[in-house]
Amino acid sequence: MAGTWGRLNIAALVLGFAFLYLPIVLLVIYSFNESRLVTVWAGFSTKWYAALFSNRGLMDAAWVTARVAFLSATVATVLGTMAAVTLTRYARFRGRVLFSGMVFAPLVMPEVITGLSLLLLFVAINFDRGFATVTIAHITFSMCFVAVVVQSRLISFDEALEEAALDLGATPVGAFFQVTLPVILPAVVSGWMLAFTLSLDDLVIASFTSGPGATTLPMKIYSQVRLGVTPEINAACTLLIGVVTVGVIAASLVTKTREVQRRRDEQLAERG
């Protein structure tokens, strides 16, 4: 009986992962295709990568995207961590319900609504659209994702540790930075990475909030895809996938080593 269930489970996993990965794998394979046609294999070639690097428009857009993503992820991580602390620690203050609503709503809000509403705000206050407005927009939605990720870590954090630090004379700020932050750091780092990739990826909100001179890579890719499939885009996508994959694997290895180290320390402390 257990055998049948086991085989069914493995079949579900194999099929599921094939469905998740096949499109991405095919895209990567065809980025090395000699032919211009995406469906015909005409031999291995890296010429689309060469074409990509000599494409000024795409390169400029990539640079804008990287700067927006870095800046917005950093600010969003600070704000999102603060929001997570507020949600887990401060049970009672005026407007808490509204606050938690505002933290969770952007997670599911359709992008067209967020984009349109931010654009109308910037127009209403006469704020010139460009690099700054895209960055502000990205901070706003990604800080909520950071808050959720950090919050899940804070919930399992033993508050007694921080209280002990306070009893021993640490200031609240000192206790936070010396005790709490190091413990929740893996979650803060993955929150930053999530914010970074969300920003790299966003097409809809950037299209609404950006102005002349601040075209992001997804906007550029989108406009080229609409004109027809070009193998250069396959190459650009493959590079993006590569960068993100390496980053995620590296980060998870770092988190894992830290986690192992922490457990070992805890065991030592218990024995000692």
Binding site: A12, I113, L200, C237
Partner: protein, 303 residues
């Protein structure tokens, strides 16, 4: 001293993100609502009235009088918009059920896998989520188009002699949504299934309950919180989806996110697109509140 500093720290930690979300999340919705009551104008910004400060209080009252619900009457009078709302909800609903059907076996398989393999499986589900949404949708164009890889493969197998037309149909939109939102479904399902006590199933088996009945009577009801959270996480953003219907759906695939985008970027009608957004938001308020409740409940359980 310590206590005073603590109070300042606490107030700062609350106030900064609070103020940010008020200014950049809540206030914009009021502006959208206000503009949805305005009229289109050939000006910059392209609507009247604009509530200029220079006209003072009387100007404000006068501008207030110019607001009207005309745009909303127009939306409900035009079957295009009504149909777009209905078909968005329909497409999102069908895709949510399909995503649940595809995602449940995966989540179950993960939860029953040996505990050493689980982190790796979890990582494999999350990894596509880190790769660009736009790229993943774009990848399907090459697969689904008439001369694409899927048709070539089916030709090769000899299953078909006419290419299947999938790209630019609603079927392609279903495939796109299921594919893109699958991790959102699998992760909450996995979280509840992993915590489940499987000795209950064994007990049911010992008492003579067939596995399928045990699944429907025990596993599925216990995983309901995950089912609800996963369905909300797929359904709500799918209703307003723009990229998937635009790239994979044809001109006959009607979805409200795409309609709003076109109204804004092609027709440049800001008041009407604001009204479209307000109604979309009203439509989503119930599921969003449900989602927030589910979120609060898991939080309680986490403590």
């Amino acid at each position: 001293m310590n206590r005073a500093l603590s109070a300042v720290f606490r107030r700062l930690v609350i106030a900064v993100p609070y103020a940010w979300l008020l200014v950049f999340f809540l206030v914009p919705f009021f502006i959208v609502f206000k503009i949805s009551l305005s009229q289109t104008a050939i000006a910059m910004p392209p609507y009247v009235p604009t509530f200029g400060l220079e006209e003072g209080w009387s100007g404000f009252v006068e501008a207030l009088g110019e607001l009207s619900f005309e745009n909303y009457l127009w939306l409900f009078g035009d079957p295009l918009y009504v149909n777009a709302y209905l078909s968005s909800v329909w497409i999102a609903g069908v895709s949510t059920i399909l995503t649940l059907a595809v995602g449940y076996p995966i989540a179950y398989g993960m939860a029953r896998a040996p505990s050493g393999v689980r982190p790796l499986l979890l990582m494999l589900v999350i990894l596509p989520f880190w790769t660009s949404f736009l790229i993943r949708v774009y990848a399907w164009i090459g697969i689904l188009k008439p001369e694409g890889l899927l048709n070539q493969f089916l030709f090769f197998l000899g299953v078909i002699d006419q290419p299947l037309v999938i790209l630019n149909t609603t079927t392609a939109v279903y495939i796109g949504i299921v594919y893109s939102y699958l991790p959102f479904m699998v992760l909450p399902l996995y979280a509840t299934l992993e915590k489940m006590d499987y000795s209950l199933i064994e007990a049911a088996g010992d008492l003579g309950c067939p596995p399928l009945t045990a699944f429907w009577k025990i596993t599925f009801p216990l995983s309901l919180p995950g089912v609800v959270a996963g369905c909300m996480l797929v359904f709500i953003p799918a209703v307003g989806e723009f990229v998937i219907p635009d790239l994979l759906g044809g001109s006959r695939t009607l979805m409200i996110g795409k309609t709003l985008w076109n109204e804004f970027f092609s027709n440049r009608d800001w008041p009407v697109s604001s009204a479209v957004a307000v109604i979309l938001l009203l439509l989503l308020i119930v599921p969003i509140v449900l989602f927030q409740r589910a979120q609060a409940r898991t939080q309680e359980q986490g403590r």
